[in-house]
Amino acid sequence: MAAIVATYGRIRDQLRDYQQLAGQFFSGPGIFLLFLGLGLWALIGRTDAFVIGVVTGSVLALGAIGLTLLYGVLKFAHFAHGDSMMLAAYLAFFALTGVVVGERTDTELLPWTLSDLPAATKPILGLSFGYGLLIAMAIAGVIMAVLFVVLDRLVYRPLRRRGSGIVIFAIASLGIAIAMRSLMLIFWSSFGRFYVPGIRPTTDLPFGIRILTDQIFIFWSALVLAPLIYLILFRTRLGKAMRAMADNPDLALVSGINTDRIVIWTWVIGGALVGIAGVMLALQAQLKPELGFVLLLPLFASTILGGIGSPQGAFVGAMVIGITEEVAVTLGFLSPGYKFSVAFVILILMLFLRPRGLFGAKT
């Protein structure tokens, strides 16, 4: 009996050693080599899948940048992020067209919409939409920022003051997510919508790949926003204060940082990002209330893979997940119904091997 126990203990210790070794390997160049290898192979083997993966990754990245910021600074899993993105997309849609579901069919509610601006819907730069959508996106971002700040005042701040655990925040944000999705269903019903109906312009890339011009736009906006948030976090006073708060809120407070104001700024930036990410999501896929929640798991996977609180990590994580998903499905490893499980498997692996993520700070 004693021998069995001793053997069991030895095997367990051995396994723990292996787990640590694997963790070290992944924290070293291993993980980069792995993903680089996969990426290169996908790039050469199935360039079309790779390109689509980059586009999927861009949409994920836009959402994950905001999520990682909120998660890092405010220290709770914002389960309403996916639904917030979709709500922002619908708000932009409303600002652009003024359409809501009426008694039986769609009705225009607003007497004046952005579409009434001169040439607002005339396509620009070869894209499918005009500058009206960009203004609508800005409006959606502002509304979401205000909504986030209001929700923080009404819900999250009282919970914070009471010293609630992360679980209570998670339940509260899930309740808000459900409420947001129901609002979308109430006002815009459940069928899919598009900003611009009809065939959209495409662009030919090398190797005979043809993608929507909108998708290139999505990629560029992710490529611009990730460094922008990085600069805000690491090159401004506000960002410094945010990082200080992420490290230790009490210490930040006694160092003379107005943590209350930092919280508001975090929500404002988060809201603006949600506005942009939501519109991009709707451009890539469509406007559909259920899409927000579906996106939640890949969003969290990207955030945790990249390291919570790191915008560059969120970008890389989102790209890895986007590319792996598309390549796995295109090459026939997975049936499309299991696409999301890629994100899930990566998430679980990451949580065990390297919970702080690729770019996360050591704790």
């Binding site: 919970l159 509260a172 899930l174």
Partner: protein, 409 residues
Amino acid sequence: MKLPTALSGASLKGRLKGERLITPVTVLVITAAVVLMPAERSNWDANGVISFLTFFATFVAIYAIFTLGLNVQWGYTGVFNFGVMAFFLVGANAAAIITKGPANTEYVRYVGGFGDRLAFLPFLDSDQWLPFLFGIAGAAVFAGVLAFLLSIPALRLREDYLAIATIGIAELLRRVTIEERGLVNGTRGLTGIPRPLGELVSTANYKYVMLAIAVATLVLVYLAIEWGIRSPWGRVLRALREDELTTAASGKNVFAFKSQGFVVGAMIMGIGGAIYAYANGAVSPDTFTHFFGTFIFWAMLMVGGSGNNKGAILGAYVVWGFWTITLQLQGYTSEHPGPLGFALPDAVQSRIFFIRDFLLGTLIVVVLLLRPQGLVPEERRVSIWVERHAKRVRAVPPAPDEQAASSSD
């Protein structure tokens, strides 16, 4: 993470008089609406109302079983499970495929189907009840094994990671049931699940049998949990929830106890899933959404009061009552107005389900903010021995110097 008890949060508001009335008033309003609305709709036809209330009570009992399971996991053990749907799904499907006969047509494919072979006991007309016991036991075992396998990696995770991981597991299982067509018949789901004790009474009266089965299961589960939670085992779970480190320092294996709490909760959910499958007679993958399979049970537990089994049952009653009332409200159209010409505007009437979801999402936030302890707060004393001892001590009038000590009790 500490549960908000009566001590925190609402302690100041608790002194206001209205606070004590919230629970009875809520229950009264829900009960009145659940009884009076269908009565009014059916022109005060007693049979119709009784039939409606029977179905209502059956489903309250079933959802209360789930909520009790969640209460064991979250309210007592402090394990955060956002994937209740996973155990619901496993329990319902396991019970269905164990009880049904083998699949025999091209369009219906599923594994299992032992129903005909399970009635091997020669006494007491066992084909009437034995397969269903196997079904329920199988559902509990499958859910328990799943929970055990999950608990090995998942319980070592931080709470927020655990939440994300359990959502992922639930989603994965849902996809598996849909994608693997031969497993539980894919998107079509399983229909024609035999009814427990179905041959005993006529179809018209069968609903009372189902109600009895659901309530009996609920009572058994309730008594088992109450017994378990008042035992030393239960006190370790609650100690764990309050402070893992101190519990570990007292020589308790934290992981083992957490895992046990998680598995027991999951098995109860599996039983709930089995009774659901029997009561419904069919299992459809459409049932297993994150909203209906997970969130609604969280709403029930938070509204009722986590950490209290009575609260969990009351929460199931209140939330399901609210759910049913909105369904009834849908009947008040402009063609069929209610009393005093009450009718919902068409715009509201066509969206009543979405509005209900909105209200439920808002409700959980409001409960968290204003009454974090729920309708029935957690009891602070859980040992029957303390209770008996306290009764014996109180029976003897205390000496003057003891009075000061016991008044702080």
